[in-house]
Amino acid sequence: MTVIEIEGMSKAYKGRQVLTDVSLQVERGEIFGIAGPNGAGKTTTVECMSGLRERDGGVLRVLGLDPQSDRRELLPRIGVQLQEAALPDALKVGEALKMYASFYDKPADWRKLMDEWGLTDRQRSSFASLSGGWKQRLFIALALVGNPEVVFLDELTTGLDPSARRMTWGLVREVRDRGVTVVLVTHFMDEAQALCDRMAIIDQGRVITHGTPGELITQGRTESLEDAYFALTGGQAA
């Protein structure tokens, strides 16, 4: 069953074309990756899907709803982790979860969620005192607090040390195993290969290819997804 459907989506900021033609489908229950160089339009794509930006043209349906005109119906059914978003420094873990839960009609039990994600020991820790990995753990929990059907995770592991990254991968799989569809924006091909059921590569505002990581490797006639990525985007390895 298709959860997200995008056909020919475009978007310009102040005359600069960021998305020219983005088309893709995300199926229920999968981890769908969006990869591509900096400035390719990954974040803009996700922000349009989650109702944070308005597209200029094309068709976009998330759970059968238009994120622009049906924003109010859509927001309670999705969860979002934004790139470089933060919480107020002095806000404590438990307070953040409790407050975000209060925004939803049918929230998850935030105490249970806090427990499941291993945050209970840190419930009185301030946001500022958490390490990068724990901040991301909290953001994933916040994305899940409304019992969403789809979550959008934008560069979840950028800036994390290798062990925190590995730990975060486990968390993303856990989200999917709960039956939640995951849209994951990432820079890292090892991450895409390890996590994604299917993925799309966006370059200069269009989807240049999509498929399972294995299909992309075949397409690029390469050994690894990273080599395939460079072959397909025409980019050079440093």
């Binding site: 979002v80 470089e84 978003a85 919480l87 925004f103």
Partner: protein, 240 residues
């Protein structure tokens, strides 16, 4: 209005945890009133100094909360994408900003209560002649200055810029609008300039109410007008 009590509670906790805002909102007015009432001399015209300073400084406290702390909070939330994250939840923006506003007003109310308590216990403060007008002046003053604060917070990109801008609006305004120096101690030309600033109607109305002089309907209308115009522009110009 789902979640409004949660957000108010959280915002209040955050204000109290920030030593700067707590100092500004509570310790600062306490120090001010002590400094100002040390000499014990009545004002020109014979009014006991405390009866002018308590209502004046309550507008000072409102000014701090609305012109300095509120815009800094909003701008910092924008800078760190806290607002953007909230935009991705079903919480209504009206509720979020309403809750922000109420939390800052509660701080100002606490500051005002502190001023009244110090005035009454330590300096023999007279009861307000017309409590209704005093309350109305406080509320209208809070609304009009909040409008300006929201406008600042709506457009300023960073918390630091908002603090600098807020303070540079706040300080000249409190000094020449009669919120720090009683109007009767100021020169005529200073008073004339001060009367054109948006804090002046609040100071005049609250003092009139306290002393039992007739309140000016023009001053009250001015406050309503300032609130509507600034809040309207803030909503239009707001950047997440």
């Amino acid at each position: 209005m789902k979640g409004i009590t949660q957000v108010i509670a959280v915002e209040l906790k955050l204000i109290i945890r920030d030593p700067m805002s707590a100092f500004f909102a509570l310790a600062f007015p306490t120090i001010m009133i002590w400094v100002k009432l040390r000499s014990g001399k009545p004002l020109p015209g014979g009014l006991p100094s405390v009866d002018a300073n308590v209502p004046m400084l309550s507008i000072f406290v409102i000014g701090l909360a609305t012109l300095v702390i509120l815009p800094a909070t909003l701008a910092q939330y924008r800078e760190r994408r806290v607002l953007k994250r909230l935009l991705a939840t079903p919480a209504s923006p009206g509720m979020l900003f309403g809750a922000q506003w109420i939390a800052h007003m509660l701080m100002a109310l606490l500051g005002t209560a502190l001023l009244i308590a110090i005035g009454a216990i330590g300096y023999d403060l007279s009861a307000p002649a017309d409590p209704g007008v005093v309350v109305l002046a406080w509320v209208l003053g809070a609304l009009s200055l909040s409008g300006i604060g929201f406008l600042l917070g709506a457009i300023v990109p960073s918390g630091r810029t908002a603090t600098v801008l807020g303070l540079s609006v706040f300080f000249p305004m409190v000094f020449i609008s009669g919120a720090v120096i009683p109007r009767e101690s100021m020169s005529g030309s200073m008073r004339a300039i001060g009367d054109m600033l948006p804090m002046a109607p609040a100071v005049q109305t609250i003092r009139n109410g306290w002393e039992g002089h007739a309140a000016s309907p023009v001053a009250m209308l001015a406050m309503v007008g300032i609130c509507l115009v600034t809040a309207g522009v803030a909503v239009k110009a707001f950047r997440w």
